[in-house]
């Protein structure tokens, strides 16, 4: 999902920066508040950030014969919401842009938007909707993490299509071409990410369900029910 350095025309770089910057700024403000007011949430925040670090470093082979990487943003988004998750994503994206030549500083705004904002927002909405209609908590987590990952790659395809519309067929034709590369490759990866996130979430429920209840991520009654159904 990294758009490589220099591979977006200047006006699009500016556009995505303009969209991403306020979100990340507000996310940083919210994160700062949590760090001041809620010291015992900090380890969980570190874990969510570290999870993004690990998953986004793993380039996995997919059935399409190419490699891509998961994003790891689903978990942060479920627990802390998309605002704070956008900050976690920026940290990883800057590291990869500066030291690994993956992504870039000029495309940082666009990459932050797809991985740090669009994906987490979708994940967050899916999680809220799924728990609201009464899906099993872990199924909700799985769906949220899987779709957050997948949405990130769809948005990257949209970003590239907007910047490079096809000569015939325009943006839509170009989107199909980019989505064929990103979206299909990503399907199995997104599902693996969904499963791993669910497992990780299970451990957090087991160990610090009190923090999850306080963050309004999970209700007390769900936790009780969970203890009876999942080993």
């Amino acid at each position: 999902m990294h758009i490589m350095e220099g591979f977006l025309p200047l006006q699009w770089c500016v556009f995505w920066f303009a969209l991403s910057l306020p979100v990340v700024a507000y996310g940083a403000y919210k994160m700062n508040n949590i760090m001041k007011g809620n010291r015992d949430v900090l380890p969980l925040l570190a874990v969510a950030g570290a999870f993004v670090f690990v998953l986004s470093s793993l380039k996995l082979p997919s059935v399409t014969g190419s490699c891509s990487h998961p994003t790891g943003t689903g978990m942060g988004s479920i627990i802390f919401g998309p605002w704070i998750t956008s900050v976690l994503a920026v940290i990883v994206l800057v590291y990869q842009a500066v030291f690994l030549a993956h992504g870039g500083l000029t495309t940082l705004g666009a990459n932050t938007f797809s991985m740090g904002i669009a994906g987490p927002v979708i994940g967050y909405l899916v999680y809220k909707a799924a728990t609201k209609v009464g899906l099993h908590l872990y199924l909700a987590v799985f769906l949220a993490a899987t779709l957050a990952d997948w949405a990130t790659y769809l948005v990257t395809s949209v970003q590239l299509a907007l910047a490079f519309p096809a000569a015939s067929g325009g943006v839509l034709a170009s989107f199909e071409v980019f989505a064929a590369v990103f979206a299909i490759t990503q399907v199995p990866l997104a599902m693996v990410e969904g499963m791993v996130t669910t497992l990780m979430f299970k451990y957090i429920v087991q160990l610090r369900s009190d923090v999850l209840v306080r963050m309004n991520t999970v209700s007390q009654s769900t936790i009780k029910k969970l203890r009876e159904t999942v080993a």
Partner: protein, 113 residues
Amino acid sequence: MKINLELFTSGVIVLFIAAFAYVSSTQNHKWVGADGQAEDLISQLTDGSYIPWFHSIYQPPSGEIESLLFALQAAVGSLIIGYFLGYYRALAKMKTSDASEEQDGELNARPSR
């Protein structure tokens, strides 16, 4: 019915590896990164007229150094996750063993069950 998430996750990962093994043994792929494929698509779509206007300020000098930096990223992340989950686990264990010690002296009580 009790679901075992660990088992289920392992199953999904095994399937994922099996799919890779199958595709790589039956078809001829280069297993390049999707990001790089997108670069090629851009030059196709623009008939090679698009020239990147900015270049990475630092490029890992070799594939080895690049994988070192990626491995470092994963290692640092895993370290943090392991440290805090271990910390939480010990914390939960201390709480339950404090409570159960008064009842039956069970020191190895499972946390929060």
